[in-house]
């Protein structure tokens, strides 16, 4: 770290924040110290509930009625912000600290035009006149690459896309030329291609404006991309703080190391590697272990660790870690736990000539949009428009694509929750183009689903046991007295055990809920399970455990899976075959390894170049898509991607539907560009060779 270069803009010393709850005070944050210099980005990373947002809210004094700072100092440009009155704070802080949140709609007033909201900042804070202010705003919108800023000024927030809204919020934050910009998960709600563009913008603005940025995210890839220094938080404490290379390549804290082993890196697949989840779960803030907070989950834990709380100490120049044995931990070769599960791949090799379990041909699902005016013709949203897929028994098909590409609609149509408009759907040799109520029990039993949101996947009113028992009784002929035993067996398979039988969903963590959801789905021993983003709402350490669990189920039961996700590293790790969707079409499909190497469909190439990797040394091409995804109400003619395609050939792309080009081994690309051309494209991502 280039220390001593300039005085820090923000210096946080020994900060502690507590929230008042029904059960008394809960310490959400303890002993957090860090500093940010001008022109520097500090990435604060950690899993949900580790206190990273609380730190941000503490800095701007937004802790709410029940939160308060109990200890420490927050020095902003040398002045302590703690314990000051509201009026003092306003004077000290002035307009020099700006904040950008996850949801841009929280920051924008839906009933005011963008122009009014932006200009107001300058009129109020700077006393500029309206006209001058508006000009300045247009410049700023231009600066954040907002297309057609003058017309955006006249629009209302809901008329902009999520990425554009976030740009407006960033522009608003920068209008006052803040010394410190706090960004709390600003890209979490955005699609990868939009996220990549926003991250580019953040990097660029930081250079140009020389602002200090506190960037908070749970996503290791994003943090690796934007940060100069990284702080890792765990259970309310800062456990490691160092430069981005040090944290990602030479982690000194066991927790940071554990995190790195949890995330699949691009190129990893289930045949050659394994994810190692961190055992146990984050201790609740009102019941922390007496010694090191990570001790109960630490693979290196020694008796000393549970005696006293270690301090954050400098273990190498500019590298701070909160571990008694940091130096040893960094050097020790980490040995995987003994119970390493068997390799999953090729457990159920599908014979080449075997009939597919699921076959979808020219699937179409349209939604009607009610006409707004009387006499207007009804419009159709073509959510899925001509998709053909096959999945063989025991295999996993991954479907990737950004929001609105139709992947969820496709899955819902397959399971019978949406009515198919056209096309053939065949499952186990039976036509399934009918809604679920008209399907036979046998088909219903064999086609089950795992949902995305752990908080809504379980019925909050019934115990875990009851919820698993019902599908068991419904689908399998189990005598009443044996049901409980079978439920317990399933729970054990999910690594939960009998003690979970009587618990209610609200007593479970996100990962545990998701496991129960999986148990419920496989209770009837289905031939196929469709997983709609099963891990995207989970923390990385939990995500690894759930992915491993799905792999084990697949190995044990031979379940065929369709796996929807937007995280390309996870899909690469988990799936045998992958289909990439864009605006209701499949644009590329084939074996997983083929999708991630040239030849690419131009859209796949752009997607890959946008994924943030948890490795600051990865070299990645920067391909940014212009514009936003066109409306499915009125999709572009010819190739649907032509409006944004960086490799557009010309008129042919607008006029004609592209051909399916076969690149061999089942790898197909839906594009006009000749295969030879596509093959010449360089790989998007290059991972430097390293001895690790």
């Amino acid at each position: 770290m280039q220390q001593a270069r300039r005085a820090p803009i923000l210096k946080v010393q020994d900060l502690a924040i507590a929230y008042e709850t029904r059960k008394g005070d809960v310490q959400a944050v303890r002993n957090v110290s860090f500093e940010i210099r001008r022109g520097e980005t500090l990435g604060l990373v950690g899993e949900s509930g580790c206190g990273k947002s609380t730190v941000a809210f503490g800095i701007v004094n937004f802790l709410g009625r029940n939160g308060r700072i109990t200890n420490g100092r927050i020095l902003f440009q040398g002045q302590d912000l703690v314990g000051r009155s509201e009026e003092d704070l306003r004077r000290l802080r002035g307009d020099r600290i700006a904040m950008v949140y996850q949801d841009p709609m929280q920051a924008l007033n839906p009933s005011l035009r963008i122009g009014e909201q932006l200009a107001e900042v300058l009129v109020v804070h700077r006393g500029m006149n309206r006209k001058e202010a508006e000009e300045r705003c247009i410049q700023m919108l231009h600066r954040v690459y907002m297309p057609d800023p003058a017309s955006v000024m006249r629009r209302y927030p809901h008329q902009l896309s999520g990425g554009q809204q976030q740009r407006v919020v960033i522009a608003m934050a920068l209008l006052n030329d803040p010394a410190l910009l706090i960004m709390d998960e600003p890209t979490t709600a955005l699609d990868v291609t939009v996220e990549a563009a926003v991250l580019d913008l953040v990097e660029e603005l930081q250079k140009d404006f020389d602002t200090a940025i506190l960037y908070i995210s749970h996503n290791l890839g994003v943090i690796a991309r934007v940060s100069d220094t990284v702080g890792v938080m765990y259970a309310g404490e800062l456990v490691e703080w160092a430069s981005v290379e040090d944290v990602f390549l030479r982690p000194h804290h066991p927790y940071t190391q554990g995190l790195m082993r949890c995330v699949p890196r691009l190129g990893m697949d289930k045949a050659s590697s394994y994810l190692y989840p961190i055992k146990g779960r984050v201790p609740p803030p009102d019941n922390l272990p007496p010694g090191c907070v990570f001790e109960p989950r630490c693979p290196y834990a020694r008796p000393d660790c549970s005696l006293s709380r270690p301090d954050l100490r400098e273990v190498a120049p500019g590298h701070w870690a909160r571990c008694l044995f940091a130096e040893e931990v960094a050097r020790l070769a980490w040995a995987p736990p003994e119970e390493v599960p068997v390799r999953m791949a090729a457990a159920h090799p599908a014979a080449a000539d075997e009939k597919p379990l699921l076959r979808v041909r020219d699937a179409r699902t349209y939604y009607e949009v009610p006409s707004r005016r009387l006499g207007e013709r009804k419009q159709l949203v073509k959510a899925v428009d001509g998709v053909s897929l096959e999945v063989k028994r025991g295999q996993t098909l991954g479907i990737v694509g950004e929001s609105g590409c139709g992947k969820t609609t496709l899955v819902k149509t397959i399971v019978g929750m949406e009515k198919a408009t056209g096309g053939e759907f065949e499952f186990m040799g039976v036509d399934i183009s009918v809604p679920v109520s008209k399907r036979s029990m046998e088909i219903i039993r064999n086609l089950q689903m795992v949902f995305q949101n752990p908080d809504s996947t379980l019925n909050p009113s019934f115990s875990v046991g009851q919820q698993i028992a019902w599908p068991l009784r419904r689908f399998r002929n189990i005598p009443r007295k044996d049901v409980r035993r079978e439920v317990v067996r399933l729970l054990e398979m999910m690594k939960l055990g009998e003690r979970y039988y009587d618990r209610l969903p609200r007593q479970l963590s996100g990962g545990e809920k998701q496991r129960v959801g999986i148990a419920r789905a496989i209770a009837g021993l289905p031939a196929m399970v469709l997983c709609d983003e099963p891990v995207s709402a989970l923390d990385v350490s939990v995500q690894a455990a759930v992915l491993n669990l799905l792999l084990e189920i697949q190995a044990e039961l031979g379940t065929t899976m369709v796996f929807i996700a937007h995280d390309l590293s996870v899909v690469r790790f988990f799936c045998d075959y992958i289909a990439v969707m864009y605006l209701g079409h499949v644009v590329e499909s084939g074996p997983a390894e083929a999708i991630y190497a040239p030849p690419y469909h131009p859209y796949t190439e752009a997607l890959l170049s946008a994924v943030p990797f948890p490795d600051p040394t990865v070299e990645q091409k920067s391909i940014r898509l212009s514009g936003s995804v066109p409306s499915a109400l009125n999709p572009p003619s010819g190739c649907r991607f032509h409006t944004r395609c960086p490799r557009k050939l010309g008129e042919i792309c607008e006029r004609e539907t592209p051909p399916w080009q076969d690149a061999g081994n089942g790898h197909r690309i839906f594009c006009h560009i000749p295969l030879e051309e596509l093959r010449k494209v360089e790989a998007v991502v290059v991972v430097p060779k390293r001895n690790q």
């Binding site: 109960p296 929750m417 219903i444 689903m449 995305q452 019902w470 419920r520």
Partner: protein, 294 residues
Amino acid sequence: MTVAADLEKSYDAGKRKWRRAWDSLSIIFRSRVAVVGLSIVIFWILVAILAPVLAPHSPFAQDSAAINKPPTPTHPLGTDHLGRDILSRLIYGSRTILLLAPISVLCSVALGTLLGLIGGYYGGLIDEVVMRILDAIMAFPTILLYLIIISAIGPSAFNVVLAITFVGAPGIARLVRSLTLDIRVRDYVAAAKLRGDSGWRIMFVEILPNARGPLIIDAMLRVGYAIFAIGTLGFLGLGLPPPTPDWGGMINEARKYIWTNPLGVLWPAIAISSLVVGLNLFADGLREETTRYQ
């Protein structure tokens, strides 16, 4: 591993159910408002249960020596125009009202919930038809509706329950319908549909139990309204036929002598309002406490 061990201990099989019950009960005691409300309600419930012990006279006994008299040692709250002891009638009157109000609310909750679930879950034409009929009922002023119903079917305890059920059901149906619309798009409902579960099972197992919180609080407020309604009907002479001790009826009878014996109106009025206020405080306190830390 002390954390895990502690967790384990607290989940010890037998104690769990008690813990759960206690947890939900202890919410009440955290809110001062709810405790005050509950105390008033419990006071009246005790009065109703212990009526034969507490009442100094029979509610029907007429004392021809004391007609429309202010409080005396034998008649602590005075007597009415027939010389009956007001205190005793008040005490016995609590029995009728505390029996009729909850029963009528239960009936209207049952009917309203059924209609709301069906409308909300199935949607489409069924929903349109059900909700428009309920809208039509709600378009009438409630008091008018009570008058029409009771004058059509005649005043009796059963008919009062019937009228309150009929008038209360649309509001509950609207509440349940909106809760259903929210819950039916959750993933566990989707999972139930994917299992091929029947509509009835989905409505009563997946949806209704998760709508119970707001429904219970609404029902509690409605008990208060029902007490008002019974009082009003009694006052209009459409409630329970005399000589049943009925608070509303007592006010009506005492009204004619308000200049000579104003206390005869005051006591039953205080009784009605204290019970309604108690119920409302209880429901409000409970609602506030359940939503406070979310």
